[in-house]
Symmetry: C2
Subunit: 334 residues, 2 copies
């Protein structure tokens, strides 16, 4: 294994977020599950957009958010994903590059428009996501940069990729490339409904292929179909090399073999929009892992990064995250 | 004069803002005047966009921001402006309608892309604006809805319209339509450099045609080419029926004939981005005027609305402004 040129390469659906305030009654009228991500087709996207309030557009995409947060922390990160050569696609490409992330994926010249996610933020700061995959639907093995994957310490994959067959193939190939070069592969389970759609395959992945797993409480319980967080924890311990399980305001639990740490959430003045919390936690954690921090510090850095992103709208950093690296060296202040 | 069906119709350049953080060194390298608006062509827009940081996209446009703020206060507002039938144009149209503003202007099928303004926000919360006018360049008398102008108590025009000949013609026609129906016409001077470009014509307008004038300190000093705010005030007193002069944290001075009020700025916890401060002041003030509030209360409502918009990124309301109407009935809390 040669020295890695990149700390983490993220692969995922390249999405521009459209963020709007909504109340619970609006979610109810639209039949939406609060806190979940659902896939929608273009007519549904147009209808919902027509009915929702005025929006704020901001580049998003789960793995892309993580790579931007990693760059903001000071890591060398790269991203692979697909946008069209349209206004939102150019916005996505500009934003991720301007954030210091390597992004060389080619624009799609034809086909569906750049993916967008209509995010409804309720007064309790929960986000409910409606994704029109657009150009991301065509993401496949041909879009992979195998050389890049081979050069990265960690390849970070989002579970959302499993919703489309071609993206799933790309996911599997990336996994093989990475392991062939002796690199680590990380997976985020993305969403409890996503786990529901792909449970058997996700379980096999976690048992056999994934080195580093990220999941929140709902996702890990869904994976093992248990009601109890602790039971899910006992399952996953034997499966991945490292698992980082997030529990919102209850903090996170991280395990590696016999080692286990229960780490508090970092304090937040006011939670505005929880979009990106999991993505930023993963970024902080992976910064720590690729910089040889002990496991508890990795979790603290994850918590600190997550606390930052939920204090404002959107899932990209508003200020540089780099100072958090120092802060993570010590116990979190309450 | 018949009863008005609309409180205020705004006419202006329809723009989507692209907001990014920047430091003073970046402004210096780009040769930009902090706090000003400059017009840029497409190659310059592309170059600057390529060099600036990741952005947040949000519908903007000076008069459009004011109309959205008016709707959020509970007024009946309408907007006339030109966007193209492209992604940013559809975003603009969605946002203004979803904000409760009447907007019936047709999309341009051909020609330049929807206008965008690259807004650089420095750590002192000042905004420096770089506008590519795009589709707004073609805005002209043919885009005017004379019926709508005739039905509105106040027609609100932005000074920026004078930067293009066709828009200037539309401005003049709107003014005539409004006065023919016995309605009032308001003008915002928009920007000190804009005043510089059109001083003689703006002075003639203010002396002969405009009923309600909005200007900040730099703009009114530029209009009369005086160094001293008080001297500018003495000039304008005799010219318009009402003048509202804003002075940032020093509050505002409003005059109507012999009547004059000096009103404090409303307190703000943390100034994040001053984009839209003048637009929201005008909205609060015009809400007051069209609802027969006394002049001091109009100014207080303007101050309260301005204080709201500078507490976050972007020039559209994040929460409903309606509660401010009640608050404006009493002296402002310090």
């Amino acid at each position: 294994m040669t020295e890695s040129a990149v700390d983490v390469v993220g692969i995922g659906n390249a999405i521009v977020d459209v963020i709007a305030n909504a109340d619970d009654a609006f979610l109810a009228r639209q039949g939406l599950d609060k806190g979940a991500m659902r896939l929608i087709d273009q007519p549904t996207a147009e209808r919902l957009y027509g009915e929702m309030g005025p929006g704020l557009e901001c580049s998003g995409g789960s793995a892309a958010n993580s790579m931007v947060a990693l760059a903001s922390l000071g890591a060398r990160s790269a991203y692979i994903g697909k946008v069209k050569d349209d206004e939102l696609g150019r916005i996505f490409a500009h934003d991720i590059r301007a954030s210091g992330v390597m992004f060389e994926s080619r624009f799609a010249a034809h086909g569906a428009a750049t993916a967008r996610c209509l995010i409804l933020v309720t007064p309790d700061a929960q986000r409910t996501m409606n994704t029109f995959l657009g150009a991301s639907t065509d993401f496949g093995p041909g879009d992979l940069d195998a050389g890049l994957v081979g050069k990265a310490s960690v390849t970070y994959l989002e579970g959302y990729l499993w919703d489309k067959p071609a993206a799933k193939d790309a996911f599997r190939q990336a996994l093989q490339h990475a392991h062939k070069q002796g690199r680590k592969v990380a997976l985020s389970l993305s969403d409890a409904f996503c786990v529901d759609r792909h449970r058997a395959e996700f379980r096999a992945l976690v048992e056999h292929d994934i080195d580093i797993l990220f999941a929140n409480e709902a996702e890990i319980r869904s994976l093992y179909q248990v009601d109890d967080f602790d039971r899910a924890l006992q399952h996953v311990r034997g499966h991945c090399e490292v698992a980082a399980l997030t529990r919102s305001e209850k903090g996170s639990v991280v395990v590696r073999g016999e080692e286990i740490h229960v780490v508090d959430a970092a304090p937040v003045k006011r939670v505005v929009d929880t979009t990106g919390a999991g993505d930023f936690y993963a970024a902080g954690f992976l910064y720590g892992l690729t910089h040889k921090f002990d496991l508890a510090r990795c979790a603290r850095l994850g918590a600190l990064a997550a606390a930052k992103v939920i204090g404002h709208f959107g899932a990209r950093p508003e200020t540089a995250l780099k100072p958090l690296v120092e802060v993570s060296a010590k116990p979190l202040k309450r």
